[in-house]
């Protein structure tokens, strides 16, 4: 899930932001991984410089989404070409599946990830 202009007042005290690096560490239309105690997270940067974080695991066969080709606000899994929406974590097209999304915050290029807000949208 993407947060563009997060005003301080909107940040609830529950959210802890962990710095993970800079926007420039990720190539446009690309992704990098962040290793966390809860598993590997893929952080995507799209052509329009939006940033998204998803669990690095395709709902189909567990493929590493960070290795896929990024296009628009979506990524194509390298194993079997499932297309996953970066905005919702949902599979696009005829496939059905859901990837967990995480909050990521971009403060003038500095990126922060919120691990404790793994937002399950499975319903």
């Amino acid at each position: 899930m993407q947060i563009v202009d997060l005003e301080p007042i909107a940040v609830t005290i529950d959210i802890t932001w962990t710095p993970i690096g800079h926007l420039d560490d990720i190539p446009r239309r690309g992704a990098r991984c962040v290793e966390t105690p809860k598993g590997r997270v893929a952080v995507f940067r799209t052509a329009d410089d939006a940033v998204f974080a998803l669990e690095d695991r395709c709902p189909h066969k567990g493929g590493p989404l960070a290795q896929g080709i990024v296009h628009g606000h979506a990524v194509t899994c390298p194993l079997h070409n499932w297309v996953i929406s970066l905005e919702t974590g949902g599979a696009l097209g005829a496939d059905e599946g859901q990837v967990k999304t995480l909050l990521v915050r971009n403060e003038g290029g500095a990126l922060f990830l919120s691990l404790d807000t793994l937002t399950a949208r499975a319903e």
Binding site: R29, C33, Q67, I69
Partner: protein, 813 residues
């Protein structure tokens, strides 16, 4: 004895006449053609799309060299005829070639009219008539600059549009108050002028040219009202006149054109005239449809028939993308005529029908031209429209009770209704061809009937006829789009990349009107390959548009680990190499080591983070990437050949290694696997490879287009060469031909089947210049491609690919 037929001119009219003649009476004549232009017969109607960059010269060739060869026609290119000796029945060209004839066809076409104002001979003033003119205009347009087009008729406007597309500032000067006054009434001309203005083309009407000014080259155009328009290029497109000088010089009857009777015969019974140079019943034609009609009559006459040409009613369409315009017949006002007009300003639609005695005599449609063929059909037949009169203007779909299904309109057409105006093809003829020959694709229908094969504007109608005839068997998307981001197929995209000189993925997407902002995982790798192939020096490889395997130079496995395959040239290794591999396996605890089908060793289960370190160790032992992950050159499998084998005829191992060292690193549309066998026992299994070589005593038999994967297919033989050097050159040239022509992910065997094995042989075996050209382009491309990607990454390239951005030890408190 076979009669001799000589044709002067090699344009579309004689080309069509010959097609008709070969169909009616093949082998009846021994045929010689003199062509003043240095090339084969091409589609002159399509010059405008060539100028605008929407088509390339190759796309508009009607008859290629092979066609002339097949029909045994002698074609003298670049041979302008100087004189005809009517008594001796011989023709002599300026270059001295002479041919005698029993029957002669003059088809010299027409010449552009150059208005005789001062300065009209300055460099930078061009006509718009043939490919050389187009080349001159494209050349002038390279630097941008300003173009002035004199003449606001069909040709002038198409030239203006093309030059605008090529990036020039364009002004059109038209002498009359409204554009295309011969085809359009003032109302339609006004809409057209507006549409062109919206495309940033300046239109000046009532503009009378006084002089073209400039010192040594064109600098401007001076008008009689005193204005001077700056110009770097001036295009004269005021009209054409029949090229009848030769006929006149030898005493044939000539008025405006060469006078012919209804059998297309001139005043000399052994001589016929055809095309734009001919004048029939006082009329000279400059559009293709009537020329094709008269070509048919002439073919009939030449094969002993008694066909008569009755003259033609013509219809016009303007080939300016996005402007829909149709005009047919005569639409001048007269006391005994009535008109029906429909205007829809909001939709930009204007329709006008001119009627006389309940018959349509003229039609002008602007904006919505779907009913053009319907009106034109009634106009030609002189159909009584009395009963339809009230609703006629609403079009054909209105007649049947309000259905707006375009198919219903086509279904309602009679069998003799004309679908393709350029080629005079009726609905019935298309239906008959589909049924009799089992045609299912548009390309087939075009090949067999010529319908929509010229200007292409009736393509939609032809497709509807196909849909009606074939029902569900018709798959309109026979040209499969690259992906959902575009309607264009791979071939179109490749052609347009070259025609428009597109050099980046965003430029391709912008110019070819991609429907998505940055493509998808299907089109981006394809576009990246096409650009790498076409511009090896100038294009910056877009790694984000490559599949992960090509991005990290290893093969991703189902668990997210990678496999690593170092190159073993020709499948030959050594104890040092094997020891290095063993050490790497131990050091990185690589779980599996497997011998591949391509004679090398695969290390499976390597973690991505370890890849650069694995490569560093392998590199120390002299290994480079085996590119086992690439749409590129994979392996060259060999047998031991004459070095060891008692049956070996040549050094197959050495040749395999030589080829592999020459070709490694090259990107190709799909993977390419080679093999070299030292004798016909073929232990390297060369006859199921993309390209294979079987060594024989006398040299090297080159094979191609094999497959042993999803499909099993033995190779085709390309040909046999004598030396190793020749074998290398042929193999490399074939690979380059494939690189330039195939669709992304299309293996050689599919590509070769699609374009024809003989077409490959003709270019690689029979045409040394072409082969050399392919070879040299491959060599040039290799200068940029032969960089070991592993050592690059060991040195730090793309570091970000191989390690996490961050490691968070435990959940933050």
């Amino acid at each position: 004895m076979t009669q001799k037929l000589v044709i002067i001119g090699n344009g579309m009219a004689p080309g069509r006449m010959l097609e008709d003649l070969f169909e009616k009476a093949p082998g009846l004549y021994d045929i010689t053609i003199f062509n003043a232009e240095p090339r084969v017969n091409y589609d002159r109607i399509m010059l405008s799309p060539v100028l605008s960059g929407e088509k390339a010269y190759e796309d508009i060739i009607i008859h290629d060299e092979a066609w002339y060869a097949y029909h045994g026609v002698t074609l003298h290119k670049g041979a302008r005829v100087a004189t005809i000796d009517r008594a001796a029945r011989t023709v002599t060209a300026e270059n001295g070639i002479t041919a005698s004839y029993d029957k002669l066809v003059i088809a010299t076409g027409s010449s552009p009219i150059i208005i005789p104002v001062p300065g009209s001979d300055l460099p930078g003033v061009v006509a718009y008539r043939d490919l050389d003119d187009v080349a001159r205009m494209l050349d002038a347009a390279k630097g941008g600059g300003r173009a002035v087009v004199i003449g606001g008729g069909l040709l002038g406007l198409e030239a203006a549009y093309g030059l605008k597309r090529q990036g020039m500032d364009v002004t059109v000067l038209h002498l009359m108050p409204t554009l295309m006054e011969r085809q359009l009434d003032p109302a339609a001309a006004y809409l057209l002028e507006k549409a062109l203005a919206a495309r940033d083309i300046t239109i000046l009407t009532k503009a009378d040219t006084q002089a073209i000014v400039g010192d040594g080259k064109v600098e401007g155009v001076a008008l009689k009202d005193g204005r001077v328009l700056p110009a770097d290029l001036v295009v004269m497109a005021v009209g054409i006149r029949p090229a009848a000088q030769l006929a006149k010089a030898v005493g044939l009857e000539v008025h405006r054109g060469i006078v012919v009777d209804d059998g297309m015969r001139t005043s000399d019974p052994a001589i016929y005239a055809l095309g734009e140079c001919a004048e029939h019943r006082g009329q000279c034609y400059g559009l293709v449809a009537p020329l094709y009609e008269s070509a048919k009559v002439l073919a009939d006459r030449l094969s002993g028939g008694q066909g008569e040409y009755q003259g033609s009613v013509t219809a016009t369409k303007l080939k300016v993308t996005g402007v829909n315009l149709f005009s047919a017949g005569d639409f001048a006002d007269a006391p005994d005529r009535q008109e029906i007009v429909l205007r829809d300003a909001a939709a930009g639609v204007y329709k006008r029908l001119v009627l006389k005695d309940d018959r349509i005599v003229g039609a002008v449609l602007y904006g919505d031209v779907a009913d053009g063929p319907w009106y034109f059909d009634m106009l030609r037949r002189g159909a009584d429209i009395g009963a339809l009169r009230e609703t006629l203007i609403y079009g054909q779909s209105y007649q049947g009770g309000g259905t707006h299904d375009p198919r219903a309109a086509v279904a309602a057409l009679g069998d003799d209704a004309e679908i393709c105006g350029c080629n005079g093809i009726s609905k019935g003829k298309i239906v008959a061809a589909i049924t009799a020959k089992g045609l299912t694709t548009l390309a087939d229908v075009r090949a067999h009937t010529k319908a929509s094969a010229s200007c292409g504007s009736c393509t939609g109608l032809v497709e509807q006829v196909m849909a009606l005839t074939l029902g569900d068997a018709y798959q309109p998307n026979a040209v499969e789009p690259v992906c959902g981001c575009t309607d264009l197929g791979h071939d179109e995209v490749r052609r347009l990349i070259r025609a428009k000189g597109l050099k980046t993925i965003p430029a391709v997407m912008q110019e070819l009107e991609w429907k998505t902002s940055c493509g998808c995982a299907k089109c981006r790798p394809a576009l990246n390959y096409y650009l790498v192939c076409d511009y090896p020096d100038a294009y910056a490889d877009d790694y984000q548009s490559r599949f992960i395997n090509e991005r990290v130079h290893a093969n991703i496995q189902k668990d997210g680990t990678y496999s690593v395959v170092p190159r073993m040239w020709g499948g030959v290794t050594s104890s040092t190499e094997l020891r290095a591999i063993a050490d790497v396996v131990d050091k990185f605890a690589i779980p599996m080591v497997k011998v591949t089908g391509g004679q090398r060793i695969d290390l499976l289960g390597v973690h991505k983070e370890d890849l650069p370190a694995v490569w560093a160790d392998l590199g120390q032992a002299g290994f480079v990437s085996g590119q086992a992950y690439a749409k590129g050159l994979r392996t060259v499998k060999t047998c031991v050949g004459s070095q060891w084998c008692r049956f070996g005829t040549q050094d197959s191992t050495g040749l395999g290694i030589r080829i592999e060292k020459f070709m490694w690193g090259s990107w190709t549309p799909a993977k390419v696997k080679l093999a070299v066998s030292g004798c016909p026992r073929n232990c390297a299994e060369a006859t199921c490879k993309d390209i294979g070589i079987i060594c024989v005593d006398s040299g090297y038999e080159i094979h191609f287009a094999g497959a042993a994967g999803l499909d099993i297919k033995g190779t085709e033989i390309l040909g046999t060469v004598k030396t190793e050097d020749e074998a290398l050159e042929h193999v490399v040239a074939l690979a380059q031909m494939y690189r330039e022509g195939a669709r992304y992910l299309e293996r050689i065997y599919k590509w070769a089947k699609r374009i024809g094995y003989d077409a490959v042989r003709a270019q690689i075996m029979d045409d040394a210049d072409r082969r050399r050209g392919y070879f040299e382009r491959f060599v040039f491309s290799q200068k940029f491609a032969q960089v070991d990607p592993w050592s690059e990454r060991v040195s730090g390239k793309d570091k970000h690919e191989f390690k996490p951005m961050a490691i968070i030890a435990e959940a933050a408190e």
